[in-house]
């Protein structure tokens, strides 16, 4: 771990943000939704370390609470996508033939739609709650993991120990989920880590367009959109949530890089 600098750096950054998210109610200096008419658009100071926004709300507190939303959307959306990917990819790879054809062509069709516009279209018809955003991002990003897992399973299922499992009378389900999937977990983990970064960016983008997490709930994306009108006079409202997004994405990318080293491939 000490020698794996990317992993250590990534884990440190993400660990810090995770702690902030977990303990936001305890460590945030102010209530993130309390409006203070006397302190509008204040620059960073001792009282407000990251300044205040156009409604006088404390920016540091809003970013801390925003971390909860952004990180959990990233984790759960990728959880959904990876779970679907494991199921579809392993079944397609193991059984091959017509089933493989149907699943993978369906994935190809889904890949033809630009994800962002697909999500925009879906959000137009649904209430954009946090839960819906998680579900939509998850349900529109399982294709990548599926293809990856299918490829891994295709090569793993030719290995001798799978034949040995058949020889002791193991069922297909047991072979897939007990023996094939655990051997494919390395690349899946790397892919999922990168996926979290992607999902956080996607949520920020959606919130920035006003279709993501709805105010007053703070997410890093919707803090950014509120900064747009005051960008000329209050740089801090744009810079700090932007930095939070940047560091988190960078952190997850470093973890993915480090995991690649751990699992021994590039």
């Amino acid at each position: 771990m000490m020698k794996n600098k990317p992993l250590a750096a990534g884990l440190a950054v993400i660990g810090l943000f995770t702690l902030i998210a977990l303990f936001a109610p305890l460590i945030s200096p102010y209530d993130p939704s309390v409006i203070d008419q006397n302190h509008l658009l204040e620059a960073p100071s001792r009282a407000h370390p990251l300044g205040t926004d156009g409604l006088g709300r404390d920016l540091a507190s809003r970013i801390m609470f925003g971390a909860r939303i952004s990180l959990s959307i990233g984790l759960i959306a990728v959880g959904i996508a990876t779970a679907l990917g494991l199921l579809f990819g392993s079944v397609a790879g193991f059984y091959g033939g017509a089933l493989d054809g149907v699943i993978m062509r369906f994935a190809d069709i889904m890949l033809c739609f630009p994800t962002f516009f697909l999500i925009l279209a879906v959000v137009a018809f649904m209430e954009s709650s946090i839960f819906n955003i998680m579900a939509i991002i998850g349900l529109t990003s399982w294709m990548g993991p599926s293809r990856l897992i299918r490829g891994e399973i295709l090569s793993l299922k030719e290995r001798e120990f799978i034949q040995a499992e058949r020889a002791i009378g193991a069922s297909n389900g047991r072979i897939i989920f007990k023996h094939l999937v655990p051997n494919a977990i390395g690349p899946v983990l790397v892919n999922a880590t990168l996926g979290i970064a992607g999902a956080i960016l996607l949520e920020s983008g959606l919130s920035f367009l006003g279709l993501g997490v709805q105010p007053p709930t703070p997410s890093w994306g919707n803090i950014l959109i509120e900064s747009k009108s005051t960008l000329g006079v209050a740089w801090w409202i744009t810079v700090f949530p932007g930095l939070a997004i940047l560091l988190t994405i960078l952190g997850f990318n470093f973890i993915a890089e480090g995991l690649k080293k751990v699992f021994g491939y590039n």
Binding site: F161, A167, H179
Partner: protein, 264 residues
């Protein structure tokens, strides 16, 4: 003595792109209860394909075209997938050439043996774990408790083969098919594994089908020897008879090859 396994006129074909290849071309084979039968022959003569056909474990591009396989009076070729799974591991078990690659690299040896135990017996995870340790002791592994927690890459080839034998014997099969199980091991380990197999066979009473191209092994362990050549069983004889009066020219070739090695 009754035949435990009867193979009649077995024909197996492989599909290689648009071409077909007859790997086994009318093989006949009997295995009696409790005997050690060595199936000998050069590479590509159809030994392994015959062995895999017994529980229909052929790769997807191979197919049994013709013939009859009866195990314990039941027609193997007529069984559905469910009943086949009941035979594999429980009635007929295999051990293979490269033990390390036949064990799952991410699961401990003990857990893999325990899995084999639980597949065919009603046992809790704990009971299966204890049974796995007992089986590791049975195959003469010292300190079975520690080894059961090891992963295959932490063990030597000989140890892995012992562990694999333990897994194969987990459900006390009536027939053990050993496909060149000592070819990848060095000579002293080979002798140990052969001795172990003979000892286990005497203790547990299974029949052994041992596949090899090395007739010196046949001389050491076999009751009878079948010689395969180009997809057919060309000669079957009691071991002593085979070595004193071989009939088929390929048998003579194999014996000559082994005597040549003996002289070096």
């Amino acid at each position: 003595m009754d035949n435990l396994l009867e193979i009649r006129n077995l024909k197996v074909q492989f599909f290689l792109g648009s071409r077909t290849f007859a790997a086994v071309n009318g093989a006949d084979l009997d295995i009696r209860g409790g005997e050690t039968l060595v199936l000998a022959g050069e590479s590509g003569s159809g030994k392994t394909v015959t062995a895999l056909s017994i529980t229909r474990m052929l790769p997807p591009n191979g197919a049994i075209l013709e013939g009859r396989i009866r195990f314990n009076g039941e027609d193997v070729l007529a069984m559905d997938e469910e009943s086949l799974r009941g035979v594999r591991g429980k009635e007929i078990a295999y051990i293979f050439q490269e033990p390390a690659s036949y064990l799952n690299p991410v699961i401990t040896v003990g857990d893999q043996i325990a899995e084999a135990v639980m597949l065919h017996q009603r046992k809790t995870k704990q009971e299966a774990g204890r049974e796995a340790e007992r089986l590791l002791g049975l195959v003469k592994i010292e300190d079975p408790r520690r080894v059961s927690l090891d992963y295959p890459h932490q063990l030597s080839g000989g140890m892995n083969q012992r562990a694999f034998i333990a897994m194969s014997l987990a459900c006390r099969p009536r027939l053990l098919i050993a496909d060149e199980p000592t070819t990848s091991l060095d000579v002293t380990i080979e002798a140990q594994i052969l001795a172990l197999l003979m000892e286990l066979k005497a203790a547990l009473g299974f029949s052994l089908l041992f596949i090899t191209h090395n007739l010196s092994i046949a001389k050491r362990i076999a009751d009878r020897v079948c010689v395969m050549y180009r997809g057919k069983v060309v000669e079957t004889a009691a071991t002593s008879e085979l070595f004193t009066s071989p009939r088929h020219f390929h048998t003579k070739e194999l014996i000559a090859a082994y005597e040549k090695i003996g002289r070096i």
